[in-house]
C-alpha cells in the first residue's frame, strides 16, 4: 500500500470509527451507520486537511463512497 493509500485509510477510519483495513473500495454509507451527513462533510474536510488540498466539492452528496472519494482526490492531483 502506498503512503497516500495508508493515509487515506487512516483518515476515513478515524472519522467513521472503523478499522483501517475495513476501508476498502466496497465501503459505502449503506455499510456503516457512522457514515451520516455530518460525517460526509467531516470526511471531505479531513481529507483536505490530511492531503493539503482544497477540493471542489460542487455537490458533496455525490462523493458518498470510498471509490468516489478517491476519484475526487485524484482529480486534485493526489494519487490514492
Amino acid at each position: 500500500m502506498s503512503q497516500n493509500q495508508e493515509r487515506f485509510s487512516q483518515t476515513v477510519s478515524a472519522i467513521l470509527g472503523c478499522a483501517p483495513e475495513d476501508v476498502t473500495d466496497k465501503l459505502t454509507p449503506d455499510q456503516i451507520d457512522t457514515w451520516d451527513s455530518l460525517n460526509q462533510i467531516n470526511l471531505v474536510g479531513a481529507l483536505e486537511q490530511e492531503f493539503g488540498v482544497s477540493l471542489v466539492a460542487q455537490d458533496l452528496a455525490e462523493y458518498q463512497s470510498v471509490v468516489k472519494l478517491k476519484a475526487l482526490l485524484r482529480e486534485h492531483g493526489v494519487e490514492v
Binding site: 478515524a14 475495513d22 451507520d33 486537511q49
Partner: protein, 619 residues
Amino acid sequence: MDTKANPPTSITPGDAALLLAQIDDRPTLVNINTAARRIAPIASSLASVQKRLACLSSFTIDFLKTPLELQALRAGLHLQTHVAPYGQIDQELIDPHSGVASFKPDVVLIAVRLRDVCPALYDSFNSLSPDEARAMIDDWLARFKSAVMSFRQHSQAHLLILNYEAPAVPALGIADRSSVNSQSRLIQAANASLDAIAAAVANAHVLDYDALIAAHGRATWEDRRMALYGRIPVAAQHYWPFAGFIVRYLRPMYGLTKKVLVLDADNTLWGGVIGDVGVDGIALGYDYPGSAFVAFQKRVLDLYHRGIVLCIASKNQPGIVEEALKTHPNMVLREKHFAAMRVNWHPKPQNLQEMAADLNLGIDSFVFLDDSDVECALMREVLPQVMTVCLPREPARYAAVVESLDCFDQFSVSAEDRVRGELYRAESGRRQLQSAVVDMPTFYRQLAMKVTFGINQSSQISRAAQMTNRTNQFNMHTIRCSEDDIRRFMTSGDHEVITLALEDRFGDSGVVGLAIVRKSPEKWVLHQLLMSCRILGRTVEQAFVKWIAGRAKSAGAAQIVGEFVPTTKNKPFAEFYASCGFAVQSPGHAPVEWILPLANVDTTIPDWIAIQSPDSEVS
C-alpha cells in the same frame, strides 16, 4: 451492516492527556475524532463533574458536539449534549415541553448569528435605510428577550449567549467609520443591547464570539463552501478553539478553574542551562533570544497580578535558581512572586505533589509548563490531572502560550485575587513561626488574629460567589452559587449571607469564610459553610461556627442543622462538625445531617481571636 465501528482498546488517563495535547498541536478532524473514540470508554473516570448542555442555534452546530465534549473533559467536566434542530430558537426556549426543556439542561448554549435572523443587515445592508436597519435589529432583540424571559419561567439553566460578529469588510467599505448608517456601529449597538438583556436575566452570560472570530481572522473563520452546503459557518480548523472558547465559561461555573502555574527554569524562565553557563551567562535581556524570555516573564507576572499562584520546579543545584531570581538585573519575576519552589534532582511529579501539600491546594488545580518533552510526558503519565503544557521550540512563541492559557479564568476578579500571591507567601511565614514555637495557643497568640464578620453585604457578592466556586476542600457539599444566587439569598429576608475576613500580623487575608443560613424561629439551617484552606488549623473555623451559634441562640433558635455531602476532595471537612459539637441526626440518611443543639452550647471565642463588630448590614 457489514462494517462495525471499531471497538476501542482501553487507555490510561495519561494516554488521554497526551491525545488531547496532540489536538492542541494539530487540531485536525482526524486527531479530534481519533481522541474522542479512544477516550470515550474512560470519559466518566476523567471528570469530577457531570452536566447536561443543550445547544440552540441558527445554523447547523452538530459539528461542535465532539470537540466540545473533549474540551470539557479536559477541564474535568463530563458533558452530555443535546443539539436542537437549527433555527428553532423561539419555540425551543418558550415551550416548557420543547426538546431542550425536556432534556433538563444545566446549561444552554444559544448560538444565534445576527446574519441568520436579520440576513439583510449583512447581505444587502446598503439597500436599507438607517431606520429600517435599526428596526430589524430591535425586532429581533425584542423577540429574543421575550423568549429568554419565558424560558426563565420554567428553567434555571445557565444561559451562554454568543454575541454578534462584525462583517469582515463593512458594506460601505472605508466609508463605514464616518457614515451615519455605519454597519459596524449598528452591530456594536446590537451587542450592547444583548449585554443589557443578559444582565437583566439571572445566570445569563454573553460570550464574546465576535472577539473569538477576530482573534482567529475574520476572513478565514468561515469556509464559504461548508457555510452554503451544510450551513456550517465555521471552518474545520476552528472547531477546536471554538469548543475551547465555550469551555472557558464552563470552568468557573463548576469550580474547575486552575489556580497554580508551575514553571520550569532553564530554557523556560531564561535561555540556557544555568548550571553550565552561570547566572551571568543565561539569555535574558533586551536582545533576542533574551527578549523572548523577558516577554514571557512579563506575561506570567501579569497572571500573578490577577491571583494565579506561581511556583518553580527545576532540576538544578539548589540555590542557583534563587540566586538568579535575586541578582540577575533583567529578571522580571523575583523570589517574592513564587509561593513555593523546588530546585533539586527529584522527579518533578513528586515536587508538584509536595508543593500542593505545602500550599494546601488540590493537585488538579495545577498547570505545569516546561520546554522538555520528556518532563511533560512524565508529568502527563504520573499526574494526568495536572494540566501539562509543553513549550514550543521557539522562545519567541512562549508569551503567546501564556496568553492562550484559558484555564485560570473567573467571571470577575476580586481584591483578594490581586494580592493572592502575597497571601500565600505570608502563609509560609506563618509556617516558619509555627515550627519555632512550642505550643499551639502561643502560636495562635503570636499571630494576633482579627476576624471581621459581614452580614448580607452587597459589596461581598462577587467574592462570596467566587468562594463557592473555588473552594473544594473545606466545603460541606460543594454546591456552587452564582452572583445572582448570592444576591437572592441576601434579599430573601429569611437568609443571612455571612462573610468572615481575617487579618493577622503577617497581613490581611481578606474574606476567607462564607456561611449562608436559612433562619426559622426554631432552627438555623446551614445552606453553605466553607473556608479557604489557606487559613485552616488556626481555630478560626471553629470560632466561625461558635459565632453563628451565639447569634442563632440569641435569636431564640434551638439548633443549627448542617449537612455533609462527601466529595473526592472535601475530606478536611468530614471531622469538622464533630469538633464543633455537632452530632449526626439520623445515621444512614443521605446526605448526612448534623445537628448542633444550642441549649448548652459553648459560644466562647478563644482569647487569641479578636472579633471586630460586624459591619453595618446592607442589602
